[in-house]
Symmetry: D4
Subunit: 173 residues, 8 copies
Amino acid sequence: MSDRAVPKVSILMGSDTDLEVMAEAARVLSRLEVPFELHVSSAHRSPQRTAGLIRDGEQRGVEIFIAGAGAAAHLAGFVAAHTTRPVLGVPLASSELSGLDALLATAQMPAGIPVGTLAIGRPGASNAAWLAASILALADPALDKRLRSERERMAEQVAVKSDAAQKKLASLL
Amino acid sequence: MSDRAVPKVSILMGSDTDLEVMAEAARVLSRLEVPFELHVSSAHRSPQRTAGLIRDGEQRGVEIFIAGAGAAAHLAGFVAAHTTRPVLGVPLASSELSGLDALLATAQMPAGIPVGTLAIGRPGASNAAWLAASILALADPALDKRLRSERERMAEQVAVKSDAAQKKLASLL
Amino acid sequence: MSDRAVPKVSILMGSDTDLEVMAEAARVLSRLEVPFELHVSSAHRSPQRTAGLIRDGEQRGVEIFIAGAGAAAHLAGFVAAHTTRPVLGVPLASSELSGLDALLATAQMPAGIPVGTLAIGRPGASNAAWLAASILALADPALDKRLRSERERMAEQVAVKSDAAQKKLASLL
Amino acid sequence: MSDRAVPKVSILMGSDTDLEVMAEAARVLSRLEVPFELHVSSAHRSPQRTAGLIRDGEQRGVEIFIAGAGAAAHLAGFVAAHTTRPVLGVPLASSELSGLDALLATAQMPAGIPVGTLAIGRPGASNAAWLAASILALADPALDKRLRSERERMAEQVAVKSDAAQKKLASLL
Amino acid sequence: MSDRAVPKVSILMGSDTDLEVMAEAARVLSRLEVPFELHVSSAHRSPQRTAGLIRDGEQRGVEIFIAGAGAAAHLAGFVAAHTTRPVLGVPLASSELSGLDALLATAQMPAGIPVGTLAIGRPGASNAAWLAASILALADPALDKRLRSERERMAEQVAVKSDAAQKKLASLL
Amino acid sequence: MSDRAVPKVSILMGSDTDLEVMAEAARVLSRLEVPFELHVSSAHRSPQRTAGLIRDGEQRGVEIFIAGAGAAAHLAGFVAAHTTRPVLGVPLASSELSGLDALLATAQMPAGIPVGTLAIGRPGASNAAWLAASILALADPALDKRLRSERERMAEQVAVKSDAAQKKLASLL
Amino acid sequence: MSDRAVPKVSILMGSDTDLEVMAEAARVLSRLEVPFELHVSSAHRSPQRTAGLIRDGEQRGVEIFIAGAGAAAHLAGFVAAHTTRPVLGVPLASSELSGLDALLATAQMPAGIPVGTLAIGRPGASNAAWLAASILALADPALDKRLRSERERMAEQVAVKSDAAQKKLASLL
Amino acid sequence: MSDRAVPKVSILMGSDTDLEVMAEAARVLSRLEVPFELHVSSAHRSPQRTAGLIRDGEQRGVEIFIAGAGAAAHLAGFVAAHTTRPVLGVPLASSELSGLDALLATAQMPAGIPVGTLAIGRPGASNAAWLAASILALADPALDKRLRSERERMAEQVAVKSDAAQKKLASLL
């Protein structure tokens, strides 16, 4: 957590066992120099605490909430019900159903209370941060520039990996 | 709503479009002479109102909450997060996914915050009432007797329907 | 099994291989000081024995049945067909289909014969016990108090775990 | 129902609303001149009646049981638990989940208590009868001959329908 | 389309048959006074056109892209691959699979190229607009105020609908 | 069916009830001037006939087989097992499961016996023809040219439809 | 394989990698003293061989075919298309989809060509043998007696396992 | 990669982590002496590079494109949108959903832009190559002959494996 700056993004997760996956969001935000905070809080076990974190976050200047939860994943919806700030949901594969339950419980929100839902698990945690950055970049030209150069770097890496794969292929045939 | 007696059961639903299905629960409770109340309140559009209905309900003597919702059906989980009274959840088939989303979002609750989940749609609404009655009957011998006689009646009806089906079969061959 | 007191809850499971998961229910009941009994009995391999356990249980004062089973999980429905006491079902992930089969086979009961279904696997076993306790607490103020204080403890633990996660995050970035 | 002959097949269904689909089985058996009986009886609402029908059926000479049920379709499994005669299960699409629940609840039986499961709905009801006939034909050369000639007729009809389709195609282009 | 103002949001849809559902997004944006444009363009049938619309949109000042598509719904992902602006995806139920295919094809994006995915169909189209508005409101206090007052209105409407449902219930019992 | 030319494509379907959907393939082939034949033949009801149609087709010069079937859709796999010519499979939504069963039964072929599987239903029938044409175009420059000009036409139509949708939108707001 | 007696049951499997699971069927038949044969043969890689094994099997006196296959599991349907003897299908979990594909491809057969489908994987392989034995027992009183005593033994084992589970529980609390 | 000959097939994959599975396609093409090239390129991270590889491939004489991707697997559809050459798609099980997401995202293409979809994962990668070979064999009698002899070899191997399985069975009973 980059605690010197005012956090722009608040990462919430329903259980401390989600930390390893949700840290992916923190890594992307750190790399993009977006200040964030991170809390464990459950929509079910600690609803008052969660409501408090949302209210306090808004007051401290948090602009985007990222919520990761598994199974009957209500956390993102709970956050969305308590703020009009953008809420991004990350469904986690923490039950026997591989995250399909969490995906449906996060994405299928009723009209009026939106949650922008990302992929199940690690790519989703990463993308919640990328999407948060793209939102913040609308008002932050420096961040916008970092985002664009990261995107170019991704494209360049593909070519490098392709060369490596072509070389490795010979050993697989 | 049988408003003369103190409601023992509170039926909540996330949208007024759920009324037709959730009325099934009301019908069963009426028939079993269990006093109840019924409210529309959403976990997402009106979380404060919902929390208030739970708190007030508990204080007025509500012993069991029945919550029906569709899609990312958080209502039952939200109620369970705000009370230690028994909460029964009815997943509704109000989205494109035929209630599978609502079933998973209602049943897959984390340890510590239980929701007793019934079937999707009409049979589930009916059974939430039957289960509520069986809970209340633990302390209400008259209700217990009504329950048992209803159960016997069900079994008897099967035989009657079987005779009718045998007669009808001839016309189908 | 707390065999000194009259069991209030009977935990049934379809196979002895379900014990490790269903022991979660026993642990929660022990912690909440709710007397219970536990039996292996199958709806398919030993229907007479299962019917006998239900009948005897009712006579000995069992108020709630918890039934855990996997695959074509009929046990909870079988119990519900043989009693008007509350029946709570725990779908187990013992087949190749990760418990989705057991969830549907447990939850999708016809109107009139309810099973309050919990989550698949370990959280569901735990929650069957929590829900049983919340039912018994309606007539047991001391249990109600224990339930409420456990709920508070859960909320407090979330804050503790959040602090730990924040500290651990640094090592993950 | 061909009540002059001793029934060789007993068709059971969980609800009288299943009659229209399950009549398909009756039609096939009638056509193949296999004597049968048909009853409505539920594993959940009338378990004693169902157990009685199985026991009486076996004693009267029923050799095969066909059981059709929807949702948490336990009927075929219940029958299989009460007899060692062959049991054929027909999953019915009577819930919101299009019969997927019934298919899993019928097919995923534990080792030792088999149910030969057919397709969901009408083709399954038909095939339960075709499979029952193929079983009875093992000891009934006349039935075996009828089965084989029906099979040939099916193949011939395909060619006829193909000609018709080719003619109809012109009007669709 | 409010063509006097510079569009802030570009609504894309893969087929003109998606218009009726995607118009929901347009309705919400109109109501919130957010200027938008709307185009039909397919990731598959007209990739160059789609890439052009994204490039031109960015240059004209579009800040957010909403993309609605069904089946192998690639449109949102295609847009996300061509811009670093926020992309919101609406899975549509236009195939036989009720939108489950579109949901997975929209949400399961790889790390680095995020799509904020909303619910299947009409609620998702509506929520794409609500989420777009909440993003734009970060830099637009007047819009933020409108959003908050809409949210309050939603909560108030719930109470009104609850009263109506209570009155209607009597006629359903 | 363009019976003057030697058929290059053989369209097979498992049932005459599949004709309306599979005619979509015929329409596309007609439009692209690819000669074809069409037969109803089942992998299950008429395996010998089906094997004969494949063998005869190959001998008459059929280069590609298109097979459409629903439910436990074995037809395409059966054809692939009897030829080394390219086989394209169209899963049809003719059972209660909306074609998901047919999709899996068509696509999940074992290594060595490939079926190129298209989408469920009408778009899949159309695309089987488009893919067949793209295969034949490898050796037929005129067809290749027709294919490319159809593709351009599709892209142009998108722009036309977009204009129409923009005009229609006003009436929907 | 008990090669001294004429095989009554032919166990077919689509791949030699299925042997370990399908051996479960062989074990049950051996235990019940039902003579059987076992072959690897694929509906796709070796259709002629498979057709030959069915034809030869029928001529040698095979009364029941058991077919186990995974993925686009056509083997049981292929066998059913080539015989009017009873065919029992075992869906195997050999693809990424945990056997759901094989279950649908085996169970969803069209009217007229039945496959009695058992559970996915090991329990299904076992139950194919149990069901085959129950079919053969209709004409074999000694086998019928063995079946019934096995069933009693199963029920008795449940009680023994229940005692063991009760003892083991203490160590788990 | 057989780089001396002009590649007839271009194998594309969305990520270098897909190499191990997609190498299966390369192995089959090598064995069948079909010249191919292989590239890593993503529809999302490097759309321009991917479009370039398709355009260059076509110009260099590539006749068939094989595209393997997981999750929201857009690669095959992206290729199909940029060429009228035959495109074969391999859904990969690289997300939490075991490739079901990739299967739907690859197969459910809209009318006009076909992707011939193979099985999930390794069998699909292998079959993309087998299908590509069967397409090329239409104009290459030597390849056609190799294909047919490979098919015969497969059938022969089944008999060999059957003998081995029969021998191994004894040790499993």
